[in-house]
């Protein structure tokens, strides 16, 4: 079988979960070859191997990490020319999508963004129009490049051969024009990652800026905390908490929307959640059209009582 390149998303050598999901999906298309930008480190390569990488290309990132997107696309172009893979899989992040875009032009290949599943033959499923439609499609020209949303597959812990190969990419000066001048790592919240969490508890303008009730329930349920744009725009939560069209897309087992009206742009980021619950004091709020269970009431009263109940039942 031929290779499928999986571009590894890692921070300081810590591989992020969506990469492991990509390795699982890649097996449907061929032999997963992980592409890691960084130093050859056995902690990294062992993990990639454990999750199914047959081959691991380690690309020295000395000339890559200080610049935005373009050098990675250039390195990948050279790797694609050497390995002739059947597909290239990338995580659907800002960076991942832009690497995909540049690579597509470089290698004259089609790109599909935001896939939520990939089947044999490279057929990709996407959820479009704010989650109202499901679309299946494929790349018809060149080497398919597919960006995949987090949480689209389960990581599989079945080891691959994990053969490590150092790949020396040549980075042109033209690719080194957008410099990363400073980088401030996001503060750990101590809660699950928003896009990876099985349960998300969100708050909107209806919190009035007091997220205690929302966070209390989130912690009782072991959930991540999300926010509407109104809450982010008000400065109550950083943008990294935002769920929706211009924030994160989440698709957890349970989504609890509190004091959120349910605007289309918010729905776009949570509509595909398995179970949806809302607490809102306005019975006419559009969010109630989506819910499996809704409570018309004041979140500052309802949530603390639910939290007590959850804590009690969990014992």
């Amino acid at each position: 079988m031929s290779e499928v390149l999986v571009v590894v998303d890692a921070v300081d050598g810590a591989i992020r979960k969506p990469t492991l999901e990509l390795l699982a999906l890649a097996k449907k298309l061929g032999d997963p070859s992980a592409v890691y930008f960084g130093a050859n480190d056995s902690a990294v390569t062992d993990k990639l191997k454990a999750y199914g990488a047959e081959k691991i290309y380690v690309v020295d990132d000395a000339e890559i990490k200080g610049y935005l997107v373009a050098p990675k696309a250039e390195a990948l172009q050279q790797l694609v020319e050497q390995a002739s893979p059947t597909a290239v899989l990338v995580v659907s992040s800002y960076e991942g999508k832009e690497i995909a875009g540049r690579l597509a032009i470089k290698i004259d290949s089609g790109v599909i963004t935001d896939a939520v599943d990939i089947e044999d033959g490279g057929v990709a499923t996407q959820s479009v129009f704010a989650g109202n439609f499901t679309v299946k499609g494929k790349v018809t020209k060149g080497t398919p490049i597919i960006t995949v949303k987090p949480n689209s597959a389960s990581p599989e812990e079945t080891a691959g051969a994990g053969t490590v190969e150092e790949f020396a990419a040549t980075i042109s000066d033209a690719a080194k024009t957008a410099k990363i001048v400073a980088s401030q790592p996001r503060k750990a919240t101590g809660r699950p990652e928003l896009t990876e969490a099985a349960i998300v508890v969100s708050g909107g303008r209806g919190t009035g800026g007091d997220f205690d009730a929302v966070e209390g329930l989130a912690d009782a349920l072991g959930a991540a905390v999300g926010a509407s744009r109104a809450a982010v725009d008000s400065g109550w939560k950083p943008h990294s908490f935002q769920v929706g069209q211009t924030g994160k897309t989440v698709s957890p087992q349970l989504y609890v929307a509190n004091g959120i009206s349910g605007a289309i742009q918010h729905r776009a980021g949570m509509q595909t959640s398995k179970t949806i619950v809302a607490v809102n004091k306005d019975e006419e709020a559009p969010i109630f059209e989506l819910v499996d269970f809704g409570v018309v009431g004041d979140l500052h009263k309802v949530l603390p009582a639910v939290t007590d109940e959850v804590t009690k039942r969990k014992g």
Partner: protein, 262 residues
């Protein structure tokens, strides 16, 4: 300074968007408008113009059907100086690759500007790939997904919220920029702006004007194909209770327990 702002004409996201029989986006049955996320790009272009002084020219560029004039006109009403609409039957059904090709050729014909400004995503395709593709095709640096923009002469710095870090990216003009909705509310066209827009230059170009081979664009030339579209089944109506003295919390806890979340 010259700024070209790329604006897309999209089906209204709050309307009932559909697909055509050939699985292309229905751009006729649903009212179209200037993509909301591109309003932020127009706004930032105008703010850069206001900062740089009056010899700066902002050109709004759109690729789309004839009706897409509406999107360009809105940009002119907001304050852009010139409009360009590239319309050609052959373009219908184009994917990202073809769109970025036509945009790149149009940008070159306008005269390579100091900044090619884009939105962070189109509200219909939401690919967020066209700005990077444009940068690749034009051989320009990209400073994309900007939430804050600073300029000094031809030096640009932006703040970008990536998944795991907030980064500051610096580059020298000319460059391609895309901006997020964190950059701040876009202005509404004023009455004066609406009147002034009527007299602003507006050009209509075809592929021939750009010297782009029609074989390279459109549905048949696309590098991707959509095989199947299906409406998501509507969610079945859930149970809604009104909280009275704690009854809501009890009912919700019951529900969560019945679904094994607790």
């Amino acid at each position: 300074m010259n700024i070209v702002v790329c604006v897309k004409y999209v089906p209204d996201a709050t309307a009932d968007r559909q697909f055509e029989d050939d699985n292309t986006v229905d751009r006729v049955g649903v009212d179209g408008l200037l993509s909301e996320l591109d309003e932020y790009a127009v706004e930032q272009a105008l703010q850069l113009k206001e900062k740089a002084g009056d010899d700066t020219e902002v050109t709004a560029l759109c690729i789309g059907p004839e009706k897409a004039t509406d999107a360009v006109r809105k940009a002119l009403q907001m304050g852009a100086d010139k409009g360009v609409l590239v319309t050609d039957d052959a373009i219908a059904g184009s994917d990202y690759a073809a769109t970025s090709l036509v945009l790149a050729e149009a940008v070159k014909k306008i005269g390579t500007p100091d900044i090619v400004m884009c939105g962070m995503a189109s509200t219909d395709a939401s690919g967020s790939v066209v700005p990077a593709m444009l940068a690749e095709r034009l051989g320009l640096p990209q400073v994309t997904f900007a939430s804050v923009i600073e300029t000094q002469g031809d030096q640009v710095r932006i703040k970008r919220d990536d998944d795991t870090a907030t980064v500051v990216v610096g580059a020298t003009m000319p460059l391609v920029m895309s901006v997020t909705d964190q950059t701040g509310e876009a202005r509404y066209p004023s009455f004066k702006g609406i009147m002034a827009a009527k007299k602003k230059p507006m050009e209509n170009w075809t592929l021939a004007d750009l010297g782009v081979d029609a074989e390279l664009v459109g549905l048949t030339a696309a590098w991707t194909e959509v095989d199947e579209t299906s409406a998501r089944p509507p969610r079945t109506a859930g149970e809604i209770v009104t909280d009275e003295e704690g009854s809501g919390a009890t009912a919700l806890a019951e529900f969560l327990a019945s679904k094994k979340f607790i």
